[in-house]
């Protein structure tokens, strides 16, 4: 006897930890743990076990389709006057429990029936009310002959009538009850729904009894008729896939059903308890079956079945979670690498050659000798004067404020960034159609919102690292190419002053139409002029090195910018759920589930 108790205690300790961790993981993953098969059963029976007194409490539920006579049998077994046998279908809308006198305590009952609201049954017709699905009406009864245990008998609503809300009430009680008395009338035993529920009972209960009620007496011997039905049911069950599942003891549900005891009662105007008889006359009666329930053995079995179901369900759940995480991880990495590629391609296409020329000229000037400085002085004055005139012309034309030469590169960059945030989501939508749709992560509205937020921001200004590196290169170059360096230090001034002269003429003749040409001497566009400039001055290697550095540096700046300013917002769900799932203690839960299964094996053997 104590062997069972020991097993229960071991399992109970594990189950407490397993339930707490499992609930945490499931809720975090957005799954209600109640949807995991066996979970509710384990939770309820475990919670009830912790509240057991010195005498084990067993719950036996009557279970069956509408009109099978559940309430009639309940009334006969307990003497509690619940409405039964009438013409209404369905008849009961609430669960009703018959408890031994010593359990007549709402607090004690609430602990034994977690999730139920226990209310003392005052008016029997309350059972027809369906106001609160969690309501459990109870009354005390005299449990004759039952010793060693407290037996609570429960009557539940049906699971197959048009009032679908009843179905859940029956299911909830099935999770709690260790013993099931399955009732059926002859015409319903082969109904699809009824067989489906029978499978459920075989999977979840510790002990099952099958009762065929209302066997028509006119067709012949009721026992013979009931025997035919029972054998036909077993024959059908043998061919149904659902009955091949295994219980904790290793036997199949079909074997479990076959070994369960079957009873019958003939149709009668005055139903009575002694009419319920075993189909096999050598086996004990229903009452002695109920009286002889071995408390701890059934309690153990009642925990083992849902524990096995829950462990299997958790394994499945962890499996789907792992594949979900894998999908998230692949997608997250794909998006990051594509953003990186775009950042690189943007950086590659926009090298600021003009800026490099400026630096080159600056460096050359810095190094020129005093002689050259004197020579170029007048040109410098001239070009400065020219700049003043240009500014004046701009002011007259209404162009207030400066137009820095780098504006063009920025505009180009912005338009390429814009293109990136238009193109990328479209590619991702093509690759992952499940994210498309009004509610999808990549819905048009979300893409657009992220785009508009992104457009409000400006890309970060390029750092100067590449410039200082280029200046170092130029130093070496200037040492090796003295003449060229001198030349560079002087000629630009001449060009600029020449273009200023052009500008003055231009202003008077055309109103400044050629102003733009003057700009060309200051800043070359990326293509032709810049390249020519570098080739002529043996500067190609310097330029190439500078461009390489620029690419790496700018890509390194744009990649995090695209991520933080845009992708983090658009892909928030993807990225946050990946982080969330990665942080869950999945391994630990899997370990617990393994332990539970081992414990179930050990307990099943006991």
């Amino acid at each position: 006897m104590n062997q069972h108790l020991e097993q229960i205690q071991k399992l109970s300790k594990l189950a407490g930890e397993f339930l707490a961790l499992g609930e945490q993981v499931a809720l975090a993953a957005g799954v209600s743990p109640a949807t995991l098969d066996g979970w509710e059963g384990l939770r309820k029976r475990h919670a009830a076990f912790l509240q057991q007194g010195e005498k084990p409490v067993l719950v036996a539920t009557l279970y069956g389709p509408t009109g099978a006579g559940k309430s009639t049998v309940f009334r006969m077994l307990t003497g509690i006057e619940v409405p039964a046998g009438g013409s209404l279908r369905p008849c009961s809308m609430s669960c009703a429990a018959a408890v031994p006198g010593s359990l007549d305590d709402p607090v004690r009952l609430a602990a034994l029936f977690p999730d139920s609201r226990c209310v003392k049954l005052v008016r029997p017709e309350d059972i027809r009310n369906s106001d609160d699905p969690a309501k459990l009406l109870y009354a005390t009864y005299q449990a004759a002959h039952v010793s060693g245990i407290h037996l609570v008998l429960v009557d539940v609503p049906d699971f197959n009538a048009v009032e679908k809300s009843n179905w859940d009430k029956a299911h909830h009680m099935l999770e709690r009850a260790e013993v099931v008395l399955f009732l059926v009338y002859p015409n319903a035993y082969a109904d699809d729904r009824v067989v489906e529920e029978l499978i459920r009972c075989c999977r979840k209960s510790a002990r099952l009894a099958y009762l065929i009620t209302m066997v028509p007496p006119e067709a012949g011997d009721p026992r013979e008729e009931a025997g035919k039905i029972w054998n036909d049911l077993l024959k059908k069950a043998g061919g149904i896939q659902g009955f091949q599942q295994r219980r904790s003891t290793g036997e199949s549900l079909f074997d479990f059903l076959r070994e369960s005891q079957a009873f019958f009662s003939p149709r009668s105007a005055v139903p009575a308890l002694d009419q319920i008889q075993p189909i096999d006359p050598t086996r004990p009666s229903l009452l002695s079956l109920l009286a002889g329930l071995e408390g701890e053995k059934i309690l153990l079995s009642g925990l083992l079945e849902p524990a096995l179901g829950a462990a299997r369900a958790v394994d499945n759940f962890l499996g789907t979670l792992a594949s979900r995480l894998e999908t998230l991880r692949l997608r997250d990495e794909a998006t990051r690498s594509e953003i990186k590629q775009w950042a690189q391609s943007i950086a590659h296409h926009e090298f600021p050659a003009g800026r490099l020329i400026q630096i080159t000229v600056e460096e050359a000037k810095r190094r020129r000798g005093t002689f050259l400085r004197w020579i170029s002085k007048p040109f410098e004055y001239l070009s400065n004067g020219g700049k003043k005139i240009r500014d004046l012309a701009d002011w007259l034309k209404g162009n207030r404020g400066d137009a820095p030469p780098l504006k063009e590169r920025e505009a180009l960059e912005r338009s390429r960034l814009h293109e990136a945030v238009l193109q990328l989501p479209q590619r991702w939508r093509g690759a992952w159609p499940d994210l498309v749709g009004e509610e999808g992560m990549l819905s048009a509205s979300r893409c657009d919102a992220a785009l508009r937020e992104f457009e409000k921001l400006s890309p970060p200004a390029p750092g100067v690292d590449w410039e200082s590196e280029a200046r170092k290169d130029l130093e070496t170059w200037a040492r090796e190419n003295k003449t060229k360096s001198w030349f560079l230090a002087t000629v630009p001034e001449v060009i600029i002053s020449a273009s200023t002269a052009v500008l003055v003429v231009d202003l008077f003749i055309t109103g400044g139409a050629f102003t733009a040409i003057a700009l060309a001497s200051g800043v070359a566009s990326v293509g032709g002029i810049g390249l020519k400039f570098f080739e002529e001055n043996n500067l190609m290697s310097v330029a190439r090195a500078a461009q390489e550095r620029w690419k790496i540096q700018r890509a390194g700046e744009l990649d995090p910018y695209l991520n933080s300013a845009w992708a983090d917002r658009l892909l928030e769900r993807l990225r946050s759920s990946r982080a969330l799932l990665e942080g869950l203690p999945r391994e630990k839960l899997a370990g617990l589930s393994r332990q539970i299964k081992e414990q179930v094996k050990e307990g099943g053997a006991a």
Partner: protein, 605 residues
Amino acid sequence: MNPGNLQVQALKEKAGRLAGFCDRFSTWPETLRASLRLREAVGGIEFDRPEIRPVLIVFLGGTGVGKSHLFNLLLDRPNASEVSSAVRPCTSKPKLACSLRDRSGLQGFLDLDTVDLIEAPLEGVVLADCPDIDSVDQANRERTRRLVHAADIVVYVTDPEKRANFAIHQEVEEWSSRKRWYFVLTKADYWPKEKEEIRADFDKRLIELGFSPGPRTRFFISCLEPAQPEFQELRKTLLGRRSAELRALLPMDQFLGRLKHALDPALGKGIEANLARLREVEAQLDARLRNAYYQALRQSECADALKTLVREQVWQQAGERVGLFLWLPIWVRNRFAALGISWSLGQILMGRASLFGLVGLGLSSLLAMLRGHLPYKKVAAALGPAFRQEVESIRHFVRLKLEDLKIPLPTEEKEESEAHAQEKKGWGLMGVGAAFESIAAQFRKKQPEDEIIAFLRADLERLGERAGRKKFGPMVAVLGNLLPCVAVGDILYRAASGWIAHEYLPWNFYGMALLVFLGTLLPGFLWVMQRVWSTSEVPDLKELVEQVREPEATQGLRSARISVEELHREFHGLLEQTSQTRAILAEELDSPLFGEVSRKIPGSV
């Protein structure tokens, strides 16, 4: 041809058209289902020689409720269909009872190999006992459904125990809108006391399903007591003689039932929801585009250009309004001004130098001068890169939104056909033609802002006209032309009097006269100039952008909305016509011999 057939023909056509519409939206589950059901309704019913077709009455119910027992009793043959007291389900192959004469009429619409035929002395009626629809034997369900599908009238048989079973109710509900019905409760002998209570409760369930049960169509019987009046009534009703004329209406009734079933209100609701969504997004994006126009036109470059254009418009008006001699200098000025304005606007637009740009600019300015046109297009081009980006974003949004709503993009088709046409041309001219064509297409390519030009132009013209009217009244015309008039009068007087007196004036007189004339134009011209420059009117941009009602950028949404509207219209049109025809037919068939129909709209709770 009888009028009924015409009606059916018209409905068939409509249904076919609606199915076509639904196919366009086959990515929506509701429309796909509707399309399949519509095609099934259109093609599935045999209308040939309806007068020889017997009425097919089918029993539908759970296992063990007594269908076979009832069947045997009605035929007066105890072993026609096997019955059992214990083992369920009992019947697995449907049994059909009919006379030899009616058998040939059945062949058109029923596969007779799947059923057991029993010869019975029935007239114009075929009675079918079907397997159950609620046992573990799934194949039974399929056999029954095939038969129910073909049936004209369904008898829902149940007993007091199974009368509230969910699975059976669901099956009845699924067929309720398509069939004509009788309802039979069996095993009345088990419940002698509660009989009336049970009957009332059963009626309640039937009313929930949309029926109005009454003694003509609902029977509570006992197969053990076939002599009871209610059983006799049932026998009379089911096996009674139905006139050939009314029987001939049954195929049409079935057709209408299937149509009604196809036109599920859930589909109508789905269409309406999508339509509302499309309208909302369209309005939202149109407003956004108008705002983009507004913001772009408000920026300083555009505003300056607009001011210049208004003044030019006033200049044009000045020429016409002042008229007479002053018209000449104003006309000359306007032609040259077109050149200058075009040039300077072009500069704003280009921003930097390029040789091609300058040449192009020069050419277009020259063209502007020759035509005397104002370069409106250039204002639109000055809307700026931010504006273009916004338009691009909106286009993109439209594309994604349609994808989200699972509506095929309407533009694809057009582009494809264009590409196809180009390809053809290319082949014809050995590829050279195609190359030219594609270059030309680049130039012809419509800019998104072209749409606002027309409005801008009309607006500016209106403004210019208003300002012109205000600035150049008759007073200006009279006073401005006064001096030239006097001069011309004097010159003409002198010349004429000289001619009359035969004293020919010296040639230099004409030269001087011309110079004097031109001189007298100057004060008037300066005055006009001053008045033009004092114009400060600018177009009301808010009003202007409001005129853009159907922007090109949201065209995709609009055409999608229009086609969903069409679908909506077709759906409701057909639904209404079906309901009307069905109501008329229901009146015709309003006899106990034809059962009753459900008034419930399928899909509603």
